[in-house]
């Protein structure tokens, strides 16, 4: 009878002899794979001429109101070359509805490592229809889509802020006017107390928004807009600028922002931004487009420290089909 233990040892000895060869094969496979990756990577990247061709195409074919969306979101080198068409690319831009734009050009680099075209399309395509087949410029791919989320903007506080009247309101005590100096409504000596259209980051997204830092306590910073035509929807968006948004320290207080009808005093929209809320907060309501309405928007926070607020008050309407 064969000894089962010696048979097992024999098998182990065989395996022990095979192990180095198996390891060698695996190592060679890894090495050759890595070598292929390193050697092929430069060929998966676009050349400067490719960008120039894309820019020339956009200069020729893009319409006012078009936007260029980047995929993946971080391929911002395109911004060196493209002018005249706004370029959107930030962490999270794949799901931006871009509702202010009727058409979206998508500049993609599908050959980049870890490119997940299908994942992008799952997020991007619903509500969009292709208007042209994709065109290749080296490793760049340019596509044009109709944006079914498009809603023409009728009123934008960022666009109209120059005509606003701004002041700091201390309920029951009075107002401090914020005279307009041609660019900014400045409220006294404090640099941060101002109303102005500025670029700011809100949860990675570059936003051109209305900077309105809360004065602190029960005081509010207010911007009044004269009677302007509205669309069928009024939207208030507000957020804390930059890295301060993520703070949750106990001394931080919520920011309140509200929109009121100046004639009736009725509160039309209101939102609160709690410490730690990094995204732009958003509220909306339907409005009647029949009559122009004068509006005021205000911002308040008990403790103004690290509560630099940026907002947009807008009104849009359904696009004609």
């Amino acid at each position: 009878m064969p000894n089962p233990e010696s048979a097992a040892i024999g098998r182990w000895k065989q395996a022990e002899r095979a192990l180095p060869l198996a390891t060698l094969v695996v190592l060679l496979w890894v090495g050759i794979g890595a070598l292929y990756f390193q050697l092929s990577l430069p060929g998966r990247l676009p050349r400067e001429g490719n960008y120039r061709d894309v820019a020339a195409t956009l200069a020729k074919e893009a319409l006012p109101g078009d936007v260029l969306l980047l995929y993946p979101w971080w391929i911002e080198r395109a911004r060196l070359f493209v002018s005249g068409t706004p370029v959107v690319g930030y962490l999270g831009s794949d799901v931006n509805r871009l509702s202010g734009h009727a058409r979206i050009w998508v500049l993609a680099q599908p050959e980049l490592p870890r490119s997940d075209r299908a994942g992008f399309e799952r997020k991007f395509l619903p509500g969009r229809s292709p208007l042209q087949p994709p065109r290749r410029f080296g490793t760049l791919e340019l596509s044009l889509y109709r944006n079914d989320f498009y809603r023409p903007v009728v009123f934008s506080a960022v666009q109209e802020y120059r005509s606003a009247r701004a002041y700091v309101e201390d309920p029951g005590r009075g107002r401090l006017d914020c005279p307009f100096d041609g660019k900014v409504h400045r409220c006294g000596e404090a640099e941060q107390l101002r109303v102005a259209a500025e670029w700011h980051e809100l949860r990675y997204e570059p936003r051109h928004c209305l900077s309105m830092h809360p004065p602190g306590g029960s005081r509010r910073i207010v911007a009044e807009f004269p009677a302007l035509p509205l669309g069928d929807r009024l939207v208030l968006e507000a957020g804390i600028v930059g890295e301060h948004a993520s703070g949750r320290q106990p001394e931080l207080t919520p920011v309140r922002a509200a929109v009121e009808d100046m004639a009736s005093g009725a509160r039309l929209l209101e939102l609160a931004i709690s410490p730690g809320q990094e995204e732009m907060q958003r509220v909306e309501r339907p409005v009647s487009a029949d009559l122009p309405v004068a509006l005021r928007v205000w911002v308040q926070s008990d403790n103004p420290a690290s509560r630099e607020t940026c907002l947009e008050l807008s009104s849009d309407r359904a696009a004609a089909r």
Binding site: L24, V26, L112, W199, E201
Partner: protein, 613 residues
């Protein structure tokens, strides 16, 4: 392989020459590639500190009585007293000699020269240790692979402490292992540990890593010698007792009073003296009872006595107020601030940090052809340790030296993996683990080559090891070499094939860079395009680094540093996810969203330059 340690190592002359050649080759490689390496934020401060320390050394030489006063010491050493002085003194002296006196090197190269030398110890020591444990091929693999990891290659250029602490950690472990077999090597272990403590605070973890190993070995060796075991027990008991008493003093007095009452005649000082005397007495007893057991723990005794002594003696800042200034130092590192760090699509700002961070970051930043053997090596040792639990596979038990290597490959990673430990700084904080992981990689690659040759010889008897090892090394090193060459000098941006390179890492949501040195990628453009006397804001670049770029001829001297976009004509923004608002500030200040140039590595934006309209 496990029997390798059973053979007394013969430190053949040939191996010493190979180690020396590896040291020299590393020096040459680092010197040849140093010029374009930018000045990282910390380094710019170390340059100034180094000059200050060197001035003090000059003063010490000229007017020792004056230089030794606390006021003079404070004037010189107050700057950057967050870190010990050893490397900064070396940087300063090198600058003094090679730049100021001899004028043969530019300022930055002169500062960095000692860093190159200490970094070059790693390939040499890795070779010697690998040669001893697993043979020449494994030693060569470990030596070469360390500098073929692009982030390690980059850091080896810097007048900083992350690679030097890895070198001194390795040196301490190397001398610890040699002390197990060779007379008097324990003294070198103590001195190496002192150098580690004098380099960076990571060194203080070494005793926690090595002590259990040394004591366990001594315990095993004294199993048949009751007298030796008694002396060993006394020494361990002494250490445990003193540690306990220190802990009681700390808890009962509180940190403030404990530090305040730590005077020459205090209970704490008496405990220290008791520990020192007791260590000498008990280890002397152990030496007489059993020399092999003595050799197992003598390096630990030397570390305990020499390490803190060197730490104190090398750093004049501690001389007049050792306890409170050392206490400040420890408190600074124990309560270090957390910087924002982008990891897998989210910004880590505060603890607790993800437990997997260090492992994932290592996997994504070590070239896969070097990383895979490391993983296989660690798994093989683990597998052998588990198999050895069974009688029939007892012979697979890893040797003591292998256990030491494995523990040191894992310990620095485990320490930084703690969710409350600061997680910024890329991979540099666990560099001390990397030479040991490289050794395990060497074990696998050399083992695969050797074993395969043995198998092939049954059919082709003429096949020799080099015939297989050389092409295997070439295939595995080639991708790392290409990546290192393509990536240099932007080492903090490198990501491996596993990540998908820099583009893959950007899509994964990984930190693209840090430390500001990538600004060198746009300096040439600035020199060519900035108007005369232009005010330029180099985001994240310290004022000191700005000056160094000018001093080293990398930036035009007429260009002036702006403090922000508001007073700048040109701004170079460093792309960090947590700094996006800074770029928006540039858009706002310059009234443009269109950059004029930038540094884009494999398409990933790193530095973006804007010019005021």
């Amino acid at each position: 392989m496990s029997q390798a340690m059973a053979v007394t190592p013969r430190w053949a002359e040939k191996d010493s020459w190979i180690a020396a050649a590896l040291f020299a080759a590393s020096m040459v490689a680092l010197i040849a590639t140093q010029a374009p390496v930018g000045f990282v934020r910390d380094e710019s401060v170390y340059f100034v500190a180094a000059q200050s320390y060197a001035r003090w050394l000059e003063e010490l030489f000229r007017t020792p009585g004056q230089a030794l006063t606390d006021a003079a010491i404070l004037r010189a050493f107050e700057i950057n007293h967050e870190h010990p002085a050893l490397m900064k003194m070396a940087f300063g002296l090198s600058h003094l000699v090679f730049h100021e006196w001899l004028g043969v090197l530019k300022p930055a190269a002169a500062f960095r020269l000692p860093a190159f030398a200490v970094a070059s110890l790693i390939p040499a020591l890795s070779y010697l240790l690998g040669r001893w444990l697993y043979g020449r091929a494994a030693g060569l693999w470990a030596a070469i692979s360390f500098l073929l990891v692009p982030r390690q290659f980059f850091n080896a250029h810097l007048a900083c402490f992350d690679v030097p602490i890895a070198a001194f950690w390795l040196l301490t472990v190397y001398t610890f292992l040699r002390a197990q077999r060779e007379e008097r090597f324990w003294i070198w272990c103590g001195l190496s540990f002192g150098a580690a403590l004098a380099t960076k605070h990571n060194g203080w973890f070494l005793p926690f890593v090595l002590a259990p190993l040394g004591v366990a070995r001594a315990w095993f060796l004294t199993r048949e010698s009751p007298a030796a075991r008694t002396w060993l027990g006394r020494w361990v008991g002494l250490g445990a007792g003193i540690s306990l008493l220190f802990a009681i003093l700390w808890v009962t007095q509180g940190p403030g009073r404990f530090v305040g009452s730590f005077t020459a005649l205090s209970p704490a000082a008496a405990l220290l003296a008791l520990g020192a005397v007791g260590t000498v007495v008990t280890l002397r007893g152990l030496y007489r009872a059993q020399q092999s057991a003595f050799r197992a723990v003598a390096p630990l005794g030397a570390m305990a006595l020499l390490g803190p002594a060197i730490f104190y003696l090398h750093w004049p800042y501690l001389w007049h107020h050792p306890v409170e200034r050392a206490a400040w130092y420890f408190d600074f590192h124990a309560t270090h601030v957390h910087y924002a760090w982008f990891y897998l699509g989210r910004l880590l700002r505060n603890p607790p940090f993800p437990l997997d961070y260090v492992v994932v970051k290592t996997a994504l930043t070590v070239p896969i052809s070097i990383f895979a053997p490391m993983v296989f090596g660690l798994a093989a040792l683990g597998g052998r340790a588990i198999a050895a639990l069974f009688d029939r596979w007892r012979s697979l038990l890893p040797s003591f030296a292998e256990a030491v290597v494995a523990v040191n490959a894992v310990a620095p990673i485990l320490i930084i993996s703690h969710p409350n430990v600061p997680h910024f700084g890329g991979v540099k904080h666990w560099f001390p683990a990397m030479p040991f992981l490289a050794l395990l990689g060497g074990m696998v690659v050399a083992g695969a080559a050797r074993g395969s040759v043995a198998a092939l010889r049954r059919r082709w008897p003429a096949v020799g090891l080099p015939a297989l090892a050389v092409p295997l090394f070439a295939v595995l090193f080639a991708p790392a070499l290409i990546a290192t060459a393509r990536n240099h000098p932007y080492g903090t941006s490198y990501y491996s094939e596993l990540a998908g390179g820099l583009p893959g890492a950007a899509t994964l949501g990984m930190q693209r860079q840090f430390w500001s040195n990538n600004v060198t990628g746009v300096l040439e453009w600035l020199n060519a395009h900035a108007p005369p006397n232009a005010r330029v804001w180099l985001h994240e670049v310290t004022g000191l680094a700005f000056q160094e770029y000018q001093l080293n001829g990398m930036l035009r001297r007429d260009i002036r540093a702006a403090s922000g976009p508001w007073d700048a004509e040109i701004a170079a923004y460093q792309y960090h996810q947590e700094f996006r608002e800074h770029e928006m500030n540039i858009w706002q200040a310059f009234d443009t969203v269109t950059p004029v140039t930038g540094l884009y590595l494999d398409e990933t934006p790193q530095v973006i330059v804007y010019q005021r309209r």
